[in-house]
Assembly symmetry: D2
C-alpha cells in the first residue's frame, strides 16, 4: 500500500473517532468474569499459502494464538475453534446456501486437509471444533447455546478473515449478550486495509479491540484454576 | 398398555377435537410446491436394540422411510438426515449443554457407530447428514438456511422420538415458515402413548399428520424431475 | 372426562416412567443461581372467557402467578411477559407466517385489549412485555440475548397453552442453555389431558416440573436483594 | 476529508479488487424472483438532525427510498421497516442487552418520536414495522420466518447505518439463504469512509451493491402485479 495510504486511513479514523466520541460511541464493553477463547477459521486453507482463502500475517497471528491457548488452557476456560467446510459442493442439495454465488467456498470440502485446524495451534482433546457454513461462528451453529450453558459472559476472538467471519462473529456475539474482545495482533485478512477499517468499526460499535498483552494479563489474573461450573443438578431446597 | 388405555386416549382426543374444531383450530397447512424430506435421528442408537435411546416400531418405520427415500430421490428433492452426537461428553467444555442433566445424551459420542445413520436407510452421496446437539433439527444447525437457499417450502418429517426431537422439529419448522407434514407411519417413540398424544397436539396446532400413502402420492405427483433451482447468479437486466 | 381417563393417563405415565428411569431419563436439571420469571401469553384472549384462545384454570393460575410475581419483584429478578399479536392479519404481508393455516391467530390483533396482559397480573414499569409471532417465547424474539446479557441461568415458566407456547418455550430454553422450571399450578390449556401429557414429556426430557410452593421457597431463599449484575464496563487491569 | 482521502480509498479498493477477482471472490449473487424491500432504521433519530444517531445524506437517501417504495407497492411485494427501540433503558431488566456499553442506545426509547419511521417515507397500512434490539434486522426478530413464509428469495436493503445495522443485516440475509441487494444511493452513515469500505466488503463477500436505477428497473420488470402467494391450505390430492 505504501505509507500514504496507512496515513490516509489513520487520518480518516482520527476524524471519525472525534465525531463518535462526541456523540457517545466508542465506549468500553469491558472484560467479564467467565471468558471463552474462540478462534475463527485458523485452518490450513486460511493459514497456509496457495489457497484462494490464504490470509496474510500468520507469522504474528499463529504465535499470538499459541500464547492465548496456553493461557486459556492453564485456566480451563472453554476453547473453541471454527472452520468452514461443506459436505456437498455441487448441485441443488448443497450446504453452501447461496454463499458460493459470492465467494469460492466450493474449495472448502469437508474432511480435507484444507479445512483442518492448523496443527501449529491444534485443538486438544476436549476442545470444540465447530464446522460452520456461514461467516459468523454463531450462525447456524450451537455456539451460543454452548457458551450460555457453560456460563460464559465474554468471548475473546482471534482468527480470519477480519472483513468476513471475524466481524460477523463479533457482531453476533454482542447481539447474543456476550462481551466481545478482539485480540489486535491475532486477527488477519487477505486484502489491504480490511483489518484496519473493520477493527475501527468494531471498536466503535460492537466490541473492544485489545492488544494481546492486555488479554494475556486478563487471563492470567483470573482465579487459578478458573472455577469449573457445577454441572450437577442442584437441589436448592431440602 | 391394554385396550382400555388406547380407548381412553381415543376418547380424550375425540372430546378435544370437538372443542378445537368448534374454535377454529385443527386447520390444514397443506402441501407446498417444493418439499424436502427430513429424517430425524434414525441412527443406530435409536433404531437398533440395546441402547438407552432405542425406540419401538422400526419394522414399520424403516420400510416406510425407504419408500419415502425412493420417491424423494426420484424427484431430486433435498434429503436430510439428522443425528445427535457430542464431541465432548465430560467436563466443562461439553457440547451437551445442559441436556445431560435431563437425559443420557452422554452415550451419544461423535464418531461412534451408535450415532451413524442406520444403513438400511443409508444416506447417498450428496445428501445432508446434520449433527445436531439439541432436540430440534433447526436449533443450532444450518437447516433453516439450507432449506431457504434451496427454495424449499414444505418439510416432510419422519423419525424419532415423537415426544422429543420430532415434535420440536415440527414446531420450529412452522415457526420458520415451512409447511410441516408428519408421516403417520414413519414416526416413533419408546414409551406408550407418546406417539399418539404428540401427533394429536401437532395436528391440532403445528403441522399436518398424513398417512404414508398420501405423502407418496404427493411426491409422485410432483413434476418429474422436480425442477432444479437455478443457483447461478441471474442478471435481471442487460 | 371422568375419573376413568385421569386414571388411564396416570397408569400410562406410571409405565412410561418406569422405562424412562430404567434408561436414565427423567433426571433433574435443578435450580440455578440467577433466575428469570417468564409468563407465557397470560393476556386476555387466553385468560378471559369468550375467545377462541380462552383457557381453563385461571382461578388457580392467576393467583399462583401473582405470588410468583411478588416473590420475583422482591428479589429484583428479571420478569418477562409474552403475548402473541399480529400487525397484519390479511394478505401476503402478514406476520402470522403460516400459523393461521393451523390455528385462528387472525383474531390476535396487535393493539387490541385481547392481546394485552391480564390486568390482574399487570406488568410493572421496567418489566419486559415481548410480542411474539410464534409459539416459543424464544423464536424470533430477543429473549435469549436479553437473558444472557442479564446473566440469567434459570427460566421459571408459567402460562398457556401447555400444548403450544409453554411447551415450545421450555424446549427452546434448555436448547439455549437455560435451566427450565415449569410451575405445576401455573400452567394451563383448553383441552383435556394436554396439561398432563405435556408436563409428563417435559419433566422426562426438557425441564423440571415443580410445585408452586417449592418455587416460591427457592425464590425466597435467594440473596436479598438478588445482587444486581454490574453492567458498567469493567477494566480488569490498570 | 478532502480529495486525497477519497482517492486513497479508491486506490486501496482497486488493489484489493484485483486480488479478490484473481481468487474468485466478488461474484454476483443476482436478483431472484420474489423480492422484499427492507428499510433499516430510517426513523427520526437517524434521519433528522440533532440526535447522537443522526446520519448524513438524507437528501439523497429519502427520495431514493420513496422511489423504491413506489415501485414495491406497485407490485405488492412485501415492505418492511425496522427501527431500534427499547422499553427499559435503565437497570438490570433492560432490553439493550450489552449494547449500551458500546453506543448510546439509551436515547432510543420505545414510543418516542425519535424511533418512529420518518414520515416522508411513512409505512402504509399492511406494511411491517419491526422493532429490533440489535444491529441486524434478523437478530432476535421474526424477519426470517416472515420472509420465508411469504416465499421471498431476495432482500433489497436500504437505510442506515452502513457500518452497523445495514452491514449486519446483509451478512445475516445471505446466511439465512436470501439474495441481498444493497441499493447504492439509499444507504448512509455518520462518519467518513464508512459507507465506502462497508459497501466494498459487502460487494466482495455478502451481497450485490447495485445502483438505484437498476433496482428500479428490476422491480418494474417483475410481473404486474407480482403474483400473490397462495396462502390457503392446498390439498394436493382428491
Amino acid at each position: 500500500m505504501g505509507e500514504g495510504v496507512t496515513e490516509a486511513l489513520a487520518r480518516i479514523f482520527s476524524v471519525d473517532s472525534e465525531l463518535y466520541q462526541g456523540r457517545g460511541f466508542m465506549r468500553r464493553v469491558g472484560f467479564g468474569e467467565r471468558p471463552a477463547l474462540v478462534n475463527i477459521d485458523l485452518a490450513n486453507a486460511w493459514t497456509r499459502p496457495g489457497n484462494p482463502f490464504t490470509c496474510d500475517g500468520m507469522d504474528v497471528i499463529v504465535p499470538g494464538v499459541q500464547r492465548l491457548l496456553g493461557a486459556a488452557r492453564a485456566k480451563d476456560i472453554p476453547v473453541v475453534f471454527t472452520t468452514t467446510a461443506y459436505a456437498v459442493t455441487e448441485g441443488p442439495n448443497t450446504d453452501m446456501g447461496l454463499w458460493h454465488l459470492k465467494i469460492p467456498v466450493e474449495v472448502l470440502r469437508l474432511g480435507t486437509d484444507a479445512v483442518a485446524i492448523d496443527e501449529r495451534i491444534a485443538p486438544e482433546p476436549g476442545e470444540q471444533v465447530i464446522v460452520k457454513k456461514r461467516a459468523s461462528a454463531f450462525h447456524g451453529t450451537f455456539l451460543a447455546g454452548f457458551l450460555r450453558a457453560n456460563g460464559v459472559d465474554t468471548v475473546i476472538v482471534t482468527g480470519v478473515t477480519m472483513a468476513g467471519c471475524v466481524r460477523h462473529t463479533v457482531e453476533d456475539a454482542i447481539a447474543e449478550g456476550f462481551r466481545p474482545i478482539v485480540v489486535r495482533e491475532c486477527v488477519g485478512d487477505r486484502v489491504a486495509g480490511a483489518v484496519e477499517w473493520n477493527l475501527f468499526d468494531i471498536d466503535a460499535k460492537f466490541g473492544d479491540v485489545e492488544p494481546l498483552g492486555r488479554v494475556l494479563e486478563y487471563l492470567e489474573a483470573l482465579g487459578s484454576p478458573h472455577p469449573v461450573r457445577d454441572v450437577a443438578a442442584r437441589e436448592a431446597l431440602p
